[in-house]
Subunit: 415 residues, 2 copies
C-alpha cells in the first residue's frame, strides 16, 4: 500500500471515532450490540447526529430515524452526492460493519471542510436505520424506506422478536424526525463497507471495487416421511425424511461444483422425532443459493427441485417447498464503479473488481439511483462477530478512496 500526496482524510481521527462509537453498546471482549431501535441504537444515533452538527452539516432526521447530514455545493446543479451506511448491529456484532461507512462519510465531509474544498454538487452522509434486520424484518429497512419501496404505514406496525412494534420503539426513544430525505435531489450513492469475507485478504489487496451484488434464493423444504423402528424396518420399506434431507444437503454442494460462481448452503436442518433408533418422520431444512447472474440462480433452483422430487419419489417422502426470499442480483452503475476504480488507482492502492456476497443498503439505493460500493479487507474474513477487525491502514485506505470517488462524482472546484 503506497500513499498518494493528494488530499487525504485523517486516518487517526477516523480510527478514534470508530473506537468512540464502539463504546456505545460495547460487549465484553470487544464487540458491540446496538440492535435496531434499541436504546443503544438511539445513543449511537445521537452521537452521529452531534458529530454531523459539529461538522457544520445541515441535519435531517426522517420519520423512521434515518439521519442525513448535508454539505452544500456551489454549482447550479446542487443535487446530493450521497454516501453512508448504518450503525445498527447484530446481537454480537463488530465495530466496523456499517459504522465504518457512516463515520468515513463524516470524515470525508470534515476533510472537505478542512481543505476548504468546494464541490459543484452537494455532498451528504446518511446513517440508515435497521440494516441488519435481526430484531425487525426486513433488513435494509432504512434504504427501502428512502427509495420508496416500503411505506411508513407498513413499517410502524412491524413487530420485533421481543414483541414490541417499531412504532412503540420510535415513540419510546424519541427516534423519529419530520424531515424526509429529499429523494428528488439525490444524484448517486457510494457506500464504503468491510468485505465480511476473505477474498481481499486471500489476494492481499487493499480495495475491492464492488461492481455487483449476488442474487439470493432462500427456500424452506419440509419433508414428510414415516417414523419407524431403525432395527426392524427393512431398508426398502423406509420412508426416511432424514435420509432425503441429507441427500438434498449433499447435492447442494454438488450443485456449487457444477455451476461456477454458485454459493449454496444448508445452514438449518432439523429432524423429528430426532431419536437414535427411530427413522425420521419429518425433516425441515433451509437452502441458501447465491449467484451474480439471475439465469444461473434459476438454473440452480430448477436442478435442485428436480433432485428433491426424484429423491422424494424414490423414498415415498412428500416434499413441500416454500420460497422465503428471492432477491435479484444487482449490477452497480458503471460510472459510479469507475469513480471508485479511478480513485483507488490514483491513490496507488492495490485493488480488484469484485462481487458483494452479502446484502447492503447500496443495492437497495441502486434500484433508484446510480450506486456502487468500496470494500476493505476483513481480518480472517469474519464479520457479525465480536472479533471482526480491519486494520487502521485499510480503514484509512477505504476512506481515502471514498473521498476521491465522491470528489469525482461531486465535481471538485478547488483542491
Amino acid at each position: 500500500m503506497t500513499r498518494s500526496t493528494t488530499v487525504q482524510i485523517n486516518g487517526e481521527r477516523l480510527w478514534s471515532e470508530l473506537e468512540s462509537l464502539a463504546k456505545i453498546g460495547a460487549l465484553p471482549g470487544g464487540g458491540v450490540c446496538r440492535l435496531a431501535f434499541s436504546k443503544e441504537d438511539k445513543q449511537g444515533r445521537d452521537y452521529v447526529e452531534q458529530r454531523m452538527r459539529d461538522a457544520g452539516l445541515e441535519v435531517r432526521i426522517d420519520p423512521i430515524g434515518n439521519i442525513l447530514g448535508v454539505r452544500d455545493g456551489t454549482g447550479p446543479d446542487r443535487r446530493l452526492v450521497l454516501t453512508g451506511s448504518h450503525i445498527d448491529t447484530v446481537g454480537t456484532g463488530g465495530k466496523y460493519d456499517g459504522s465504518l461507512g457512516v463515520l468515513a462519510g463524516l470524515e470525508v465531509l470534515q476533510t472537505l471542510n478542512e481543505h476548504q474544498v468546494q464541490t459543484h454538487h452537494a455532498v451528504g452522509v446518511v446513517a440508515f436505520v435497521n440494516e441488519e434486520g435481526v430484531r425487525f424484518m426486513p433488513d435494509m429497512m432504512g434504504s427501502l424506506y428512502v427509495s420508496g419501496q416500503l411505506g411508513l404505514d407498513e413499517i410502524e406496525p412491524i413487530e420485533g422478536i421481543d414483541g414490541k412494534t417499531i412504532k412503540e420503539c420510535l415513540d419510546e426513544v424519541a427516534f423519529s424526525g419530520e424531515d424526509d430525505i429529499p429523494v428528488d435531489f439525490i444524484k448517486s450513492f457510494i457506500e464504503l463497507h468491510i468485505e465480511q469475507g476473505p477474498v481481499l485478504l486471500d489476494k492481499e489487496l487493499d480495495i475491492g471495487i464492488v461492481d455487483r451484488v449476488q442474487g439470493i434464493l432462500w427456500e424452506e423444504v419440509v419433508l414428510e416421511g414415516e417414523s419407524n423402528h431403525a432395527g426392524v424396518t427393512p431398508m426398502h420399506r423406509r420412508r426416511d425424511a432424514g435420509y432425503v434431507a441429507s441427500s438434498i444437503a449433499a447435492y447442494v454442494r454438488t450443485l456449487t461444483e457444477e455451476i461456477e460462481g454458485l454459493r449454496g448452503t444448508v445452514g438449518a436442518l432439523s429432524l423429528f422425532p430426532n431419536l437414535i433408533n427411530v427413522i425420521a418422520k419429518e425433516a425441515t431444512m433451509t437452502i441458501d443459493l447465491r449467484h451474480a447472474e439471475k439465469d444461473r440462480l434459476i438454473q440452480a433452483r430448477d436442478l435442485l427441485h428436480q433432485k428433491i422430487n426424484a429423491l422424494c419419489e424414490k423414498e415415498k417422502v412428500r416434499p413441500s417447498i416454500k420460497p422465503l426470499a428471492d432477491v435479484d442480483p444487482v449490477i452497480f452503475d458503471a460510472q459510479c464503479v469507475e469513480s471508485v476504480e479511478k480513485a483507488a488507482e490514483a491513490l496507488h492502492y492495490s485493488s480488484m473488481r469484485m462481487i458483494s456476497g452479502a446484502g447492503h443498503d447500496a443495492q437497495i439505493m441502486a434500484s433508484k439511483w446510480p450506486a456502487s460500493m468500496i470494500f476493505i479487507p476483513s481480518q480472517d474474513g469474519i464479520s457479525h462477530n465480536i472479533n471482526e477487525y480491519s486494520t487502521p491502514e485499510h480503514v484509512e485506505a477505504g476512506a481515502n478512496v471514498l473521498l476521491h470517488a465522491i470528489l469525482d462524482k461531486a465535481g471538485m472546484s478547488t483542491l
Copy 2:
C-alpha cells in the same frame, strides 16, 4: 392359517386379558403408557401377580421387581422351562409389545392346568422389569439382573429422566420383593413377541421362528467446523460441519446398499447455530448400524470411519466419534429354535426362520441359557405406537406355538 386339533390355548381369554391389562395406563386413542417403575407399571404388575396366584402358581418377586410364576414339574429334573417378557411400555406404547409374551405365558400355564397336563420339568412365566429403557437406562434391565450382568448395587442408584432414582421408585411404590429368581434352576427361555416390523406381514406368514438377533453399533459423531456467512464465504474456504454431517448420513444409506443385510439409520442430526444464512459450526449426529453378523458390522463401521475421516480432512472439520452401544449379534440355541419350528409345523401355521431386528429380553437370557423367540405379525409393521396391533388370530397362533414349544422343552407326560 389352519388349526390343529391337539391341545390349544383359549384365544378369547388371552385376547380379553390383553384388553384388561391395556386398561392400566390406557391412553386416549388406544395406546398404553406404563413407564418402568411408575405407578401404572406397579398396577400392571399387581394385575399380573394376581393372575399368577389365581392360576395357582408359586409366585416370587425379586429385589428389582421381576415377577416369576412357577408350575412345578413331575420328573426328577424339575429345572425351569421359562417363558415371559415385560409389561412396561414406552411413553406412547401399544397393547401387545411385551404384554403379549407375559399374558400368553400365563395362558399357557392355565391351559396346562385345565388339561391336567403334567410336565417333567417345571414351567414358569416371568414378567421382567424395564425392558424398554425409556425412563431408566439400560433397557432389558430385568433380564440383565436375572442373568447376572447387572447388580442391585448398580441398578438402585440409576437416575431416570425425571430425576428419580430406581431405589426411590422401588421404595415409593413397594415394588421389590426378596425372592431372587432361582437362576441355577433355569433350563431354557422362549419368548413370544410381536415382530414390530413388516417382514411376516409382507410375506403373509403367521409365525416367525426367530433364530438370531441383530448386533447393534451405536455411535455419536460430533463435527467441529467454522461458522461463516453463507453469502460471502467462497465454497473452497468453508469448514461446513452441516455439509459433512449430511454427506455422512447419505453415505450410511450407500453402505446398506453395499453390505447385504446391513441396516443403517441416522435418526438424529442437529446443527449449530442452525440459521439459514450461517454455515454450521457444529453438527451432532447419531448412527445406528445393525447386522446379524459381527464381521459385517465391523466392516460397516470401518468403512464408515474411513468415509468420515476423508470428508473431514477435505473440509477441515474435526470429528469426534463416541461409541454409545455395541451389542453383539445373538445366535439362538439350535434346539430351542427347533422346538418352536416343530410346534409351528405341527399346528400347520405358515412360518419362516427370521432375525429379530429389535432387542429383547430373550437375547440377554441367551447369554446364559438356551433361548429362542416366536414372532407374530404386526399390523402395518408398526410398534411403539398407540396404533400397534396384531389380530386375535395371530395372537392365538403365537400362544399355541409357545404352548407346544414349551411342552417340547418341558417333556409332557400326559396330553
